[in-house]
């Protein structure tokens, strides 16, 4: 039995957990290939025209898995806590996929909504696991192992590395530090982000991303916004900004966003206005399917040069 996991969106936050879980149930896990032109083109062709690039890309990754697996895992990510939900496009994702793509294998579209508490997660594990085994004990064991994998993965971030890019703490250093903010599926997809993080590192710049702050560090910043944002990843980004406003330690901010992203028009403008108030250099990089490598390099270089100059001036 083979289960496919599309390599984008919530993949970057949760895949070690699901991979372990399925494997412990004796199911083989196939991850779609790393993002490529082909995958992006497939997504562009099949997804609704107005969608943002990440959603189109998701369509491409699902197509990449067709004919390779018995099941594709497309959970309906609703929420992982009480205060917010995922972007509405995540909420409607299984419906979009079913209506837009043909020749799909079986889909596992379990609804993940942990608003009522962590116990809900058990139910999720059970409903996914019971597709493959009737043995409850095995499901519980697999669930436990999967949580441990996830913890390991997150630890990689907390220790100052970026596991999905294979970066360890020691790989990330430089004379200036940038907060690179955005959603995991933008930041950690080297194709989509045109290797933005590695480019910065090659300029001798150190980076911090929202995943590198602990949950409690972010939670502490919650009251800074009069009204909590509705979306999970967006709150992570906002709170990371507020963390650095409070504690310092960065020379500038780069906000990485997708062309026509719904939530980000609010997030981006809030960060822009607030960093201007505090006189912290701020740059928005908007990605779409046409963003060019050279243009990006030039903009990043100019920004970094400006920060270095600023530093010597002070």
């Amino acid at each position: 039995m083979k289960v496919g996991i599309p390599r984008t969106l919530s993949y970057y936050t949760y895949y070690p957990m699901w991979k372990t879980f399925f494997e412990k149930l004796g199911v083989e896990v196939i991850i779609s290939d790393p993002t490529s032109k082909q995958i992006l083109d497939d997504g562009m062709r099949e997804a609704v025209a107005d969608a943002c690039v990440p959603i189109k890309l998701y369509h491409g990754h699902v197509i990449n898995l067709i004919n390779k697996v018995d099941y594709i895992f497309i959970p309906r990510m609703v929420s992982v806590g009480r205060e917010d939900t995922f972007c509405p496009k995540f909420l409607g994702l299984p419906d979009m996929i079913t209506c837009s793509l043909e020749n799909l294998p079986n889909l596992i579209t379990t609804r993940i909504d942990l608003k009522k508490g962590k116990l809900e997660l058990l139910k999720v594990f059970y409903s996914v696991g019971s597709i493959f085994t009737k043995n409850i004990l095995q499901i519980i064991k697999a669930a436990r192992a999967s949580m441990i994998s996830l913890k390991e993965y997150n630890k990689g971030f907390l220790e100052g590395g970026i596991p999905p890019l294979n970066l360890k703490r020691d790989d990330i250093k430089g004379d200036i530090t940038l907060a690179v903010l955005g959603y995991p599926y933008m930041l950690y997809d080297p194709y989509l982000s045109l290797d933005l993080i590695k480019k910065l590192l090659s300029f001798g710049v150190s980076v911090v991303t929202p995943e590198m702050l602990s949950k409690s560090q972010k939670a502490r910043q919650a009251p800074k916004l009069k009204k909590t944002l509705f979306w999970h990843y967006s709150n992570n980004v906002m709170r990371t900004v507020h963390h650095f406003f409070e504690n310092g330690g960065i020379d500038g901010i780069i906000h990485v966003t997708a062309f026509s992203c719904g939530p980000d028009f609010i997030v981006d403008k809030l960060i822009e206005l607030e960093s201007r108030e505090r006189n912290i250099p701020f740059l928005t990089i908007t990605f779409d399917e046409h963003t060019g490598e050279e243009g990006l390099r030039t903009r990043l270089e100019a920004f970094v040069d400006m920060l270095r100059l600023r530093r010597t001036a002070i």
């Binding site: 997804a47 107005d50 509405p88 609010i266």
Partner: protein, 367 residues
């Protein structure tokens, strides 16, 4: 204190009355124009949805006219509208305006805030009874406005002289807007009947039936959707929409207060295709497409702001649904560059297509 608020369709008439009745000086928002949108576009982020840009533009216009208090509504997501005012307030302050922003959140979560906010807007001695009367009257006024609008949809496709219904409708709206009490409203109702009955009509027309659905602001505000209803009516189609101001308010404020689920039928119908609440009206769009198909409508048109999240989800589902139910489907996405001429052409083509489809269906039936 000079109070203003966002513009949406005819609601400004009733809102102005309430605010004035509570003793406020009101700066009613002007009807959104090119200028409004250009202000909004200038100061809003590029990817903001059109309703955000229009309301922001309106605030700038009214602040320039001397308003110092903005009253608006919030919301609970998961879509963006509930966060509009948070960002709009920051943007306006950044431009340099000074004002107070009063945001009414839905009652179930923030009842205390509502009461506190409401008190700020009571600026003369009024008894509770008077307040209730005031709101009651506003409600009746809005209901009547919705009624006469609905009637205009029915008359327009039958009109002999193009544009006559629209002129009649505008006249009637003016009369209702002037009403000061319930007797005036009764009088207005009678006048409306008289005015409408003087519109020359063809008998025996069986117009194409088209439903308008999508995101609430662009569906309801004719300047935002570039008068789609009027255009369609003048192309000889009967247009229906599910959203009217009075039932929107009921669905959102009252059902929220009692934890009821509004628009249940549409949501239920949508379930096989669209199984999640995504904010906005995306799911209703899907459900209503099914309901209208079952009612024998010829087509549905989805209007949505460019980048509108729930409607993008709906849009990827709607073609499948429309095909399965054999109803025509057109999606129009609206941003500040959308021009009336472009829409007109697309609507004409759509109406043609539906007419041909209908003819074919009928021929098949006879054969």
């Amino acid at each position: 204190m000079k109070v203003t608020f966002p513009y949406m369709s005819n609601s400004h008439i009733a809102i102005t009355n309430i605010l004035e009745g509570l003793g406020n000086e009101v700066i009613p928002p002007p009807k959104p124009s090119k200028l409004t949108l250009s202000y909004g576009t200038k100061y809003a982020p590029e990817f903001a949805c059109v309703p955000f840009k229009i309301t922001l533009g309106t605030y700038i216009e009214t602040l320039e006219m001397g308003a110092d208090t903005i009253v608006s509504t919030g919301g609970v997501g998961p879509c963006r509208a509930g966060l509009y005012t948070t960002l709009q307030e920051k943007i306006l302050r950044n431009i340099g305006y000074e004002f107070e922003m009063i945001t009414f959140e839905p009652p179930s979560r923030y009842l205390k805030d509502i009461i506190r906010n409401f008190k700020k807007l009571v600026n003369k001695k009024v008894s509770l009874v008077e307040i209730i009367k005031l709101i009651w009257f506003a409600w009746e006024q809005l209901t009547l406005l919705d009624e006469v609008e609905l009637e205009s949809f029915k008359i327009r496709p039958c009109e002999v002289k193009r544009g006559e219904t629209t002129r009649a409708y505008r006249k009637i709206v003016d009369i209702i807007a002037q009403a000061k009490n319930r007797d005036d409203l009764k009088e207005a109702r009678k006048l409306a009947d008289k005015i409408y009955s003087s519109v020359d009509r063809y008998e025996d027309v069986d117009p194409l039936k088209i439903a308008l659905l999508g995101e609430i602001y662009v569906v309801m505000e004719p300047t935002a959707n570039l008068e789609i209803e009027e255009t369609l009516g003048e192309l000889g189609a009967y247009v229906e929409r599910t959203m009217f101001f009075t039932d929107y308010t009921i669905n959102n404020a009252i059902t929220d207060l009692f934890h009821l689920k509004g628009d249940r039928d549409a949501k239920k119908a949508a379930v096989p295709y669209f199984n999640e609440m995504c904010g906005g009206h995306g799911r209703e769009s899907v459900g209503n497409t099914i309901l209208y198909a079952e009612k024998g409508f010829d087509g549905v048109i989805q209007v949505a702001p460019f980048t509108c999240i729930p409607e993008i989800v709906a849009k990827s589902i709607l073609p499948t649904v429309a095909e399965e139910y054999g109803i025509g489907f057109l999606s129009i996405s609206i941003d500040e560059q959308t021009g009336k001429a472009g829409i007109q052409t697309r609507l004409e083509a759509f109406v043609d297509l539906l007419a041909r489809k209908r003819k074919k269906k009928r021929e098949e039936k006879i054969a």
